[in-house]
C-alpha cells in the first residue's frame, strides 16, 4: 500500500515504538511472520505477586504482578452499590432497580457477588446488550445503505439470532461456524453475518457491464473485510489493491479468501426449521381464505359522493347538535376521525366538555356528574389534565378534558339517572379556544333507552380515505359506459404517474384490460421506454416499471374506450402497487363515464376524500362511510381477515432472512490494483498463507468452501480467533482492550498491555469450551473489576498511567447511546421488554425528499430497547445517535466517547427526555404519593440507585414544589452521575 510508504513518518506518536522497528528494515518487503499475534497461543502460569490477599482469581494475579512491577498498587474496593450499577450496565445495559440494590446490600451470603452475576447472565437482557457490541463490529443495519438506503426488511432475524446466541452461551467456535455456514447447521438466519454490509441493489448499479463487475467486487470485498476484521482482527481489505505492507497478507491471499465466499449473494433466504415447515403448510389455506375475503371486501367501499363533500365541519370551540326531541337514558358519542396534529399526525381525540340538554323551556344540562349521570368510555389516556370525569365536570378548557386512548377514534357513553326527554347536545374540544388539535371531525351521536337500542340522532360521516400511493377504489352506482375518462387535476409533485387503471363490472371483471379489447388514449405521455408508456396503463401489470406518466406536471387525462358498452360500478387505480414509489401521486382527479351516445357524467372525484395523505398507511377505519346495511357484513369480513392476517404475520415472522443466497461460485481472479477490468490468473480458495496451508480445488462445492473456512477460523489452533474475542470481551468491561486496537491485531495495531494475560485468557476461553459467559464471570468477579474508580491518593499512578491501561483503578466511562435510552425508559417505568421481531421505527418517513423525519414521541413498540429499533444505515437516531452511536457504514470495533453540545441539546431538550421525565414523575407519584420529599427520594433511588443527601434533598425540594417533579427527572437524566458507569 502506497499509504504506508508515504506516510510512515507521520504516524501518531503512540505507534512510533512499533514503527521504528519496522522502518529500520529499510524498504518495503513482506512483513515478518514473527509478529506476536501470529504465534501460537500459550498458557502462561499466573504470576504470584507479593500481595497474596488481593487477587480473587488468575486475572488479578497478572494485573497485580504488573502493577507491582511498575511500583503501583490497586485501588480499594468500590462499594456494593457502585459495583452493582457497574456490573448491571456492563452485562445487561440497564441500571439495577432500587429493589435489586436493596437486596444486594442486605445480602449476607458469601457468594452474594456470584449470585448477582449469575442472575444478570441468565437474564434475557444480557443477550440484548452484548449482541449490540457484536452488531457494531459487523455493521448490522436494517437498510441497504448508499443513496437510496431502502429497507432491508428481513435483516432482523440475524439480529435476533445474535441475541439468542449470547443468551444461550453458544460456544464461540460454534457461533463462528453458524455465521459462516449456518445453512448446514440448522441456523439459517446466522449467515446474515456474511452480508451485513451496504450494497447496491440491482437497479442501482449501472446498466453497463463494467459497473456490474465493480459492484460485485465491492460486495465480495465487504464479506472478506468483515471476516478478517471480525474474527481475525486483521485488515485484510488492504490487500485488495496491493500486498499488505504491514502484515504478511498478499493480494493473492486476499483473493483466495474471496474465493471461499464467491457464491454468496446479498439476498433473502428461506429460514427452514421444523416449525417453519409446518407453518408453511398451514399458511396456504389461510392465504387462500384471505384472498377470498379481500374479494368480498372489495365490494364494501363507501360510494363516492362527488362534490357534495362533507357539509359539516366541527369546530374546536363549540358544536351545538340539535335533534328532534327524544326520550333516552343512554347517550353515546362515537368519534370516527379527528383533525391531524401538525407533527404527530393522527392522535387521540380530546373533548373538554359534553353537555346534554333537556327538552324544556329552560334546558338543563343533565350530563353533569352532579346530576347523577355516569360516563364510560372506549378507553382513556389519563393525566392531570385529561381524565374521564373531566368530561362532565362543568369545567372548560384543555386542563379539564377527556382524552381517548386510541388514535383518531373512541367513544363515550352517558347513563342518565332516569329516562329524560332530550333535544340538544353541546360539545367542544376546548371551549377556551386554546387547542384545535385532537378535534372530532366525523362522529355519530346516538341515544336510546338501553345501550342496545340506540338510534342515531346526528351523523357526520367521515370523508372517504385520502388517496394513497398504492391503490384507490372509486365506487359508484352501476352505470352503462362505453368510455371512462380519468382526469388528473393535481399531484403531490411532478408529472402524474399511474401504474394501472382498472374498471370493474358488478361481477368483478376488469373490463379495462387491453386484452379485452379496450383502447386507451391520453393527453400526452412522458415516455421512458419499457418503463413509462401509455400501453402499461391497462396491461394488467403493476408497479412503477410498468406505468403511465403524463407529459405535463400535475395534470393530464386518459380515456379508456371499451369494445362495447359495459355496466360498471368501480374504478381502481394506483401509483405503485409494489409500494416503492409515492411521488407523482394523483391527489385531485375526476372520473367521468359516457355511454355510447351521450355526455360525460361525473361518477367520482376527490372532493369527498380526506385531504391528508396517509402515505402507505391503511386508513384507521376502512369501513367508515359505509351505510348501516353494509357495515355489519363488512365488519364481519374485516374482523375475520384481521384475525387471519395476524396469524399469518405471526407465522411469517422470521420466515425469510437476509442471510445470503448461495449459488455456484464466481471464478475469482487476482485483480491488478483491485481493478475488475484487469484480471490476472485464477485463484482458488485458500487460507491466509501466514496462518496455514489449507487450499481447495477449484471445483469445490460452494457450501464446502464456507465449511472449510469456518473450520479454519473456529480452530483452537488459529492464533488470532480466541485472542481477538477475549480482547473484545475485556474491552466491554474495562473500556479498552488489552490490545486497544480490537480489530487490528496486525503489525499496525498496538501491542497488548498484558501479553501473558491475553494468552492465558485465550487459552482459558478455549479450555472452557469457548464459553463467553464463563469469561464474563472471570472478569467481573475479579478484584480488578471491583476496584474503586476514584484515583484516591494515587497521584503518581495518574502521572504514570493516565489512561489506566494498567488498571490500578477501574476506568469509568460514559454510557453508550443504547444504554442511555434504555436506562431512561427503565427508570421512567416505560420500558417495554418485548423481545425479537421486526424493529420499531425511529423515523416517520424513510428517505425521499425530506429525508428521514425522526419520530419525536414514542409509544407502544417505540418504548422497546433500542437494539430493537429498525436500524437505518447512515441515519443516526435523532437524540441518542449523537452519543457516538455507529451508523453501520463501517465496522465499529470500539465506540468513541466524545462530548458535544449537540448531545447536551438533545438530552436536555428532546421530547423523549421530557416525556420520560413526565413518566418518571407519574410513576413516582403512583408509588409514593403526593409528598415532595418521598418523591425526590424515590426518583433518586430509581435513577441513581441511592438516596439523596440532605443537601440534595434541600436543594431539590423548592424546585420540585414550584415547577413540578418532571423538572427533577429532566435534571437527573442529564446528570453525569446517571450517564457514567461508576
Amino acid at each position: 500500500m502506497k499509504l504506508f510508504t508515504r506516510q510512515r513518518r507521520h504516524m501518531p506518536l503512540v505507534l512510533l515504538g512499533l514503527l521504528l522497528v519496522w522502518t529500520a528494515d529499510g524498504e518495503m518487503r513482506p512483513a515478518p511472520t514473527e509478529h506476536w499475534s501470529f504465534q501460537p497461543v500459550t498458557r502462561p502460569i499466573p504470576p504470584t505477586a507479593s500481595d497474596r490477599e488481593w487477587p480473587r482469581n488468575e486475572v488479578d494475579r497478572f494485573i497485580l504482578a504488573r502493577l507491582e512491577k511498575e511500583g503501583l498498587k490497586p485501588s480499594p474496593e468500590t462499594d456494593r452499590v457502585r459495583w452493582l450499577r457497574r456490573v448491571s450496565f456492563d452485562l445487561v445495559g440497564l441500571p439495577p432497580t432500587p429493589e435489586q440494590v436493596e437486596s444486594f446490600v442486605q445480602e449476607r451470603r458469601p457468594d452474594a457477588y456470584e449470585r448477582v452475576v449469575d442472575e444478570l447472565l441468565n437474564s434475557p437482557r444480557y443477550g440484548e446488550r452484548w449482541a449490540q457490541h457484536w452488531l457494531d463490529v459487523v455493521r448490522y443495519a436494517d437498510t441497504h445503505g448508499f443513496e437510496v438506503n431502502t429497507e432491508r426488511p428481513h435483516a432482523w432475524p440475524y439480529r435476533d439470532y445474535v441475541i439468542r446466541a449470547f443468551n444461550r452461551d453458544t460456544p464461540y467456535d460454534r457461533f463462528i461456524r453458524e455465521q459462516i455456514v449456518g445453512d448446514a447447521l440448522g441456523e439459517d438466519a446466522a449467515t446474515g453475518f456474511l452480508i451485513t454490509a451496504s450494497v447496491l441493489l440491482p437497479g442501482q448499479i449501472g446498466a453497463d457491464e463494467v459497473s456490474k463487475r465493480l459492484a460485485r467486487q465491492d460486495a465480495l470485498d465487504e464479506i472478506v473485510v468483515n471476516l478478517g476484521q471480525t474474527f481475525l482482527g486483521l485488515s485484510v481489505g488492504c490487500a485488495r489493491c496491493h500486498d499488505h505492507k504491514f502484515d504478511p497478507i498478499s493480494a493473492r491471499d486476499y483473493y483466495a479468501l474471496q474465493a471461499f465466499v464467491a457464491g454468496v449473494e446479498y439476498e433473502d433466504r428461506d429460514v427452514r426449521t421444523p416449525e417453519t415447515e409446518v407453518k408453511r403448510r398451514d399458511e396456504k389455506a389461510l392465504e387462500a381464505r384471505v384472498a377470498e375475503l379481500d374479494r368480498q371486501l372489495a365490494q364494501f367501499v363507501p360510494v363516492a359522493r362527488p362534490k357534495t363533500g362533507n357539509a359539516r365541519a366541527s369546530r374546536a370551540q363549540e358544536n351545538v347538535e340539535h335533534f328532534p326531541a327524544v326520550t333516552a337514558k343512554f347517550v353515546r358519542f362515537t368519534i370516527h376521525e379527528t383533525s391531524l396534529h401538525p407533527t404527530l399526525g393522527l392522535i387521540e381525540p380530546c373533548v373538554d366538555e359534553f353537555e346534554i340538554f333537556t327538552d324544556e323551556p329552560q334546558p338543563r344540562n343533565v350530563a353533569l356528574a352532579t346530576h347523577g349521570t355516569k360516563v364510560t368510555a372506549s378507553g382513556s389516556r389519563t393525566s392531570d389534565r385529561h381524565k374521564l370525569e373531566h368530561l362532565h365536570d362543568g369545567k372548560y378548557g384543555n386542563g379539564w378534558s377527556w382524552m381517548a386512548n386510541s388514535a383518531g377514534r373512541g367513544w363515550v357513553q352517558f347513563e342518565l339517572p332516569e329516562p329524560t326527554r332530550l333535544a340538544k347536545v353541546i360539545w367542544s374540544r376546548d371551549r377556551e379556544g386554546g387547542f384545535n388539535d385532537r378535534l372530532a371531525t366525523a362522529y355519530t351521536l346516538a341515544a336510546g333507552a338501553s345501550p342496545d337500542t340506540l338510534q342515531t340522532l346526528v351523523a357526520v360521516p367521515p370523508p372517504r380515505p385520502a388517496v394513497n400511493a398504492r391503490v384507490n377504489t372509486d365506487r359508484f352506482a352501476p352505470v352503462k359506459a362505453k368510455r371512462v375518462r380519468f382526469t388528473i387535476r393535481e399531484t403531490n409533485n411532478l408529472e402524474p404517474c399511474v401504474d394501472e387503471l382498472e374498471v370493474f363490472d358488478p361481477a368483478g371483471t376488469n373490463v379495462a384490460l387491453a386484452s379485452t379489447g379496450t383502447t386507451v388514449t391520453s393527453s400526452g405521455d412522458t415516455v421512458v421506454a419499457e418503463r413509462h408508456e401509455l400501453r402499461f396503463l391497462n396491461d394488467g401489470e403493476y408497479g412503477n416499471s410498468r406505468s403511465w406518466m403524463s407529459a405535463e406536471r400535475g395534470r393530464g387525462w386518459v380515456v379508456l374506450e371499451f369494445a362495447q358498452e359495459r355496466l360498471i360500478d368501480r374504478v381502481i387505480w394506483g401509483r405503485d402497487r409494489k409500494a416503492e414509489f409515492s411521488d407523482r401521486l394523483v391527489t385531485n382527479y375526476v372520473i367521468e363515464v359516457a355511454a355510447s351516445s351521450g355526455e360525460w357524467r361525473v361518477v367520482a372525484d376527490a372532493s369527498d376524500r380526506a385531504t391528508q395523505l396517509l402515505g402507505d398507511k391503511a386508513p384507521a377505519n376502512p369501513l367508515a362511510g359505509l351505510d348501516a346495511d353494509e357495515t355489519k357484513p363488512a365488519t364481519r369480513l374485516l374482523d375475520e381477515k384481521k384475525t387471519l392476517e395476524s396469524e399469518l404475520r405471526a407465522g411469517a415472522e422470521g420466515r425469510l432472512a437476509f442471510a445470503g443466497k448461495f449459488r455456484a461460485p464466481d471464478t475469482i481472479h487476482l485483480l491488478n490494483r483491485g481493478d475488475p477490468e484487469q484480471p490476472r490468473d485464477e485463484v482458488v480458495p485458500a487460507v491466509l498463507s501466514v496462518l496455514g496451508s489449507t487450499k481447495l480445488a477449484r471445483d469445490t462445492a460452494e457450501q464446502e468452501r464456507r465449511r472449510v473456512l469456518a473450520d479454519w477460523l473456529a480452530s483452537p489452533e488459529n492464533p488470532l480467533t480466541a485472542r481477538v474475542m477475549v480482547n473484545r470481551l475485556w474491552q466491554g468491561h474495562f473500556g479498552s482492550g488489552l490490545v486497544d486496537t480490537p480489530s487490528d491485531f496486525g503489525r499496525n495495531g498496538t501491542k497488548p498491555s498484558h501479553p501473558e494475560l491475553l494468552d492465558w485468557l485465550a487459552s482459558e476461553f478455549v479450555r472452557s469450551n469457548w464459553s463467553v459467559k464463563q469469561l464474563h464471570r472471570l472478569l467481573v468477579l475479579s478484584a480488578t473489576y471491583r476496584q474503586s474508580s476514584k484515583p484516591g491518593a494515587q497521584a503518581t499512578a495518574t502521572a504514570q498511567d493516565s489512561e489506566v491501561r494498567l488498571l490500578w483503578r477501574f476506568p469509568p466511562r460514559r454510557l453508550d447511546s443504547e444504554p442511555i435510552r434504555d436506562a431512561l425508559l427503565a427508570v421512567s417505568g416505560k420500558l417495554d421488554l418485548k423481545m425479537y421481531g421486526r424493529g420499531f421505527d425511529l423515523f416517520n418517513q424513510r428517505g425521499g425528499l425530506s429525508g428521514f423525519q425522526p419520530v419525536e414521541s414514542f409509544r407502544g413498540e417505540g418504548l422497546r430497547r433500542m437494539i430493537y429499533a429498525h436500524k437505518v444505515r447512515r441515519e443516526r437516531e435523532a437524540v441518542f445517535g449523537a452519543f457516538d452511536c455507529p451508523d453501520a457504514g463501517q465496522s465499529t470495533a470500539r465506540r468513541r466517547e466524545s462530548t458535544t453540545p449537540i448531545q447536551a441539546l438533545n438530552l436536555f431538550n428532546s421530547r423523549f427526555t421530557l416525556e420520560q421525565a413526565e413518566a418518571l414523575a407519574a410513576r413516582v407519584q403512583a408509588e409514593v404519593g403526593a409528598e415532595v420529599a418521598p418523591q425526590i427520594r424515590r426518583a433518586y433511588q430509581l435513577a441513581l440507585s441511592r438516596n439523596p443527601s440532605a443537601a440534595e434533598l434541600a436543594e431539590a425540594t423548592p424546585i420540585v414544589a414550584t415547577h413540578g417533579l418532571p423538572v427533577l427527572g429532566r435534571a437527573l437524566f442529564n446528570s453525569n452521575e446517571f450517564l457514567f458507569v461508576p
Binding site: S198, F908, H963
Partner: protein, 489 residues
C-alpha cells in the same frame, strides 16, 4: 495548550479551575490524558495540537501556514453537465445528432443515443475571454476570478457512491466527510456555533443524505450540523417547557454535576460534559440569531435574490447563501451549501437524464444569482481573502443524449469544478477533456486531488491528516491524492 475559560460562565469557570485541568499549565501528561478522552487515538499529526474535550471546536494550528481560514463548498447534487456550463465543446455543435463512432452502446441508465450539441450558447467572458454558457449569466461574469479544473474524474458513475467519493474520498459508506476532517483538524474560530454546518437546499436533502456530512469513525463532535435559513437546529429548546421551569432544571442539573465533580475531582470527562452544556446554552442563543436574516439590509437581500417572490425556491437558496456568509463571518470553519435535492428524474436536482434543457433552465435560475452574489458579497467584505469557495458536483454528463430522450447520462470520466478565494489563482483553467467533452485527456485529477488541494489551502497535508480505524491510518484521500498546484496562487 491553548485553552481559556473566558467563554464559560463564572460557574463553569469555577468548576474548571477547581479541576485545574484547564488552568493553562497542564503538563505533557495532562495533555495525553486529554487526548485519551477522545477515545485514545484522537491524535493529530502536528505535535501539541491535541483536542481539548471540553472545547472540541477550539481552534487548532494547521500543519503549515494556511491560505484559507474557512471554506464554503457549494455542492450541486445530481451531477451538473460540464457541457452546458463551463466546458465549451464547439465540436459537439458540428456533430450534433450524429452517432459517436466507437462510443459505448450502453451507459449507466441504458442505451446511448446521438451526440447532442451544448443546449446553451457560449460566449467569451471577462479579460480571459473564456467561453462560458449563457445558462449561468451571473456566475459567468465572475469567470476572471475562478480557477477551473476541467479534468476531474470519479471512481463511480452512481450518485450514491460518487457523492460518497466526493465528500469522503471513498465510494463505500461510513467514512468521515471533508467537513468532519477539517473541523477535526482545525476546530473553529467560533465558539458559539458548530464548527461544521451543512445547509440543505430548500427542495430537500441531497442525493446521498447525511453521508455528505457524517463523521464516519471520527468523534461525533465533528459531524456536520444541519440547518438552513428555513429549518432550525433540532432540540434547540424544550417544547412546552416554561422559561422558569427550564431555568430551574438547568440550575438543578448544574448543582448535581458540580457536586458530583467535587466527589470525582480527577475525571476530566465530567468537566467536559459540564462545559458542553454551557456551549449548548450559547448555541441556543447564537443559532437563532444567525438564522435571523431580518437584520440584512434590503439591497443585500435584493442582490442575492432573496426577495424574489416569483421564485420561492431561488429566494430560499439565496437566503441559504446569505446564511453561509454570516456563518463564515462568525468564524465557522466549514460550510456545506447544497444546491439540489434528491433523485427525482432531474426535477429537483441536476440529474438531467431526459429533459435536460427544460430542467436546467429552472435549476440554473435557482443557483446562478444567489451563488454569484455570495462570492461578490464575500469579496466586498474582504472575506474572500480568508475564505475558500469551492463549487463542485459528483460527476459530469455524456456528450450524447440517451436513446429516445433529451438528456445526458452519467459520466465520471471528465468533469469540471472550480475554486475561488483565498489562495486560489484567478482566471485560470486547468486540465482538458477530449474534443467532445467525454473523457479527461490532460492533467487528469481524480477527486482525491481536489480534496488534497482543499486541505492544502487550509494548511493541512492530506497525507499527515490521519485517524486510526481498525488497523489503518485512514485519510481523506485514501492512498492517493496529488496537489493541483497549477491553480494555487
Amino acid at each position: 495548550m491553548n485553552h481559556s475559560a473566558e467563554h464559560l460562565t463564572p460557574h463553569g469557570r469555577h468548576l474548571l479551575n477547581r479541576r485545574g485541568f484547564l488552568n493553562g499549565t497542564a503538563t505533557a501528561l495532562g495533555s495525553i490524558a486529554l487526548t485519551n478522552l477522545l477515545g485514545g487515538d484522537g491524535l493529530l499529526a502536528a505535535p501539541g495540537s491535541l483536542i481539548d474535550p471540553a472545547r472540541p471546536y477550539a481552534p487548532r494550528p494547521p500543519h503549515f501556514r494556511a491560505q484559507a481560514k474557512n471554506v464554503i463548498v457549494i455542492f450541486c447534487a445530481g451531477a451538473v453537465s460540464q457541457l452546458e456550463t463551463w466546458d465549451y465543446k464547439p465540436e459537439l455543435i458540428k456533430w450534433d445528432n450524429q452517432p459517436l463512432p466507437g462510443g459505448p452502446s450502453v451507459t449507466f441508465q441504458g442505451p446511448a443515443g446521438n451526440l447532442a450539441r451544448p443546449q446553451y450558447a457560449f460566449r467569451p467572458r471577462g479579460q480571459t475571454g473564456k467561453m462560458v454558457s449563457d445558462l449561468i449569466p451571473h456566475l459567468a461574469e465572475l469567470t476572471d476570478d475562478l480557477a477551473f479544473i476541467h479534468s476531474l474524474t470519479s471512481k463511480s458513475n452512481t450518485h450514491g457512491p460518487a457523492e460518497n467519493f466526493l465528500s469522503t474520498g471513498f465510494v463505500l459508506d461510513g467514512f468521515p466527510s471533508l467537513g468532519s476532517w477539517i473541523s477535526y483538524a482545525l476546530g473553529s474560530e467560533s465558539q458559539d456555533l458548530p464548527a461544521f454546518v451543512s445547509i440543505l437546499d430548500p427542495r430537500g436533502v441531497p442525493q446521498n443524505g447525511s453521508n455528505n456530512w457524517g463523521p464516519g469513525f471520527l468523534p461525533a463532535a465533528f459531524q456536520g450540523t444541519t440547518f438552513s435559513a428555513k429549518d432550525p437546529v433540532r432540540h434547540l429548546a424544550a417544547p412546552g417547557v416554561s422559561a422558569e421551569a427550564d431555568r430551574a432544571a438547568r440550575s438543578l442539573l448544574q448543582r448535581m454535576n458540580s457536586r458530583h465533580l467535587e466527589q470525582n475531582p480527577s475525571d476530566s470527562k465530567l468537566a467536559a460534559r459540564i462545559a458542553s452544556y454551557e456551549l449548548a446554552a450559547r448555541m441556543q442563543l447564537s443559532v437563532p440569531a444567525i438564522s435571523d436574516l431580518s437584520t440584512e439590509p434590503a439591497h443585500i437581500l435584493k442582490s442575492y435574490g432573496a426577495d424574489d417572490t416569483s421564485n420561492p425556491i431561488k429566494a430560499g437558496f439565496a437566503k441559504n447563501c446569505i446564511l453561509a456568509r454570516r456563518l463564515v463571518e462568525r468564524g465557522v470553519r466549514f460550510v456545506q451549501l447544497f444546491n439540489g435535492a434528491y433523485a427525482s428524474g432531474g426535477e429537483l436536482n441536476w440529474d438531467g437524464h431526459s429533459k435536460l434543457k427544460e430542467q436546467y433552465d429552472k435549476h440554473a435560475a435557482i443557483l446562478d444569482q444567489p451563488a454569484a452574489a455570495l462570492i461578490r458579497d464575500l469579496r466586498q467584505r474582504g472575506l474572500l481573502e480568508e475564505t475558500l469557495v469551492v463549487w463542485c458536483t459528483e460527476f459530469g454528463r455524456m456528450p450524447f443524449f440517451q436513446k429516445g430522450a433529451q438528456g445526458r447520462d452519467h459520466n465520471p470520466d471528465g468533469f469540471t469544478c472550480w475554486l475561488t478565494g483565498a489562495g486560489v489563482k484567478r482566471g485560470v483553467s486547468h486540465g482538458l477533456t477530449d474534443e467532445l467533452g467525454q473523457k479527461a485527456i490532460h492533467d487528469l485529477h481524480p477527486l482525491y486531488d481536489l480534496n488534497a488541494t482543499i486541505l492544502h489551502l487550509l494548511g493541512l497535508d492530506h497525507e499527515r491528516l490521519t485517524f486510526e480505524h481498525n488497523g489503518v491510518q485512514r485519510r481523506l484521500t485514501n492512498v492517493e491524492g496529488e496537489l493541483i498546484r497549477q491553480i494555487l496562487a
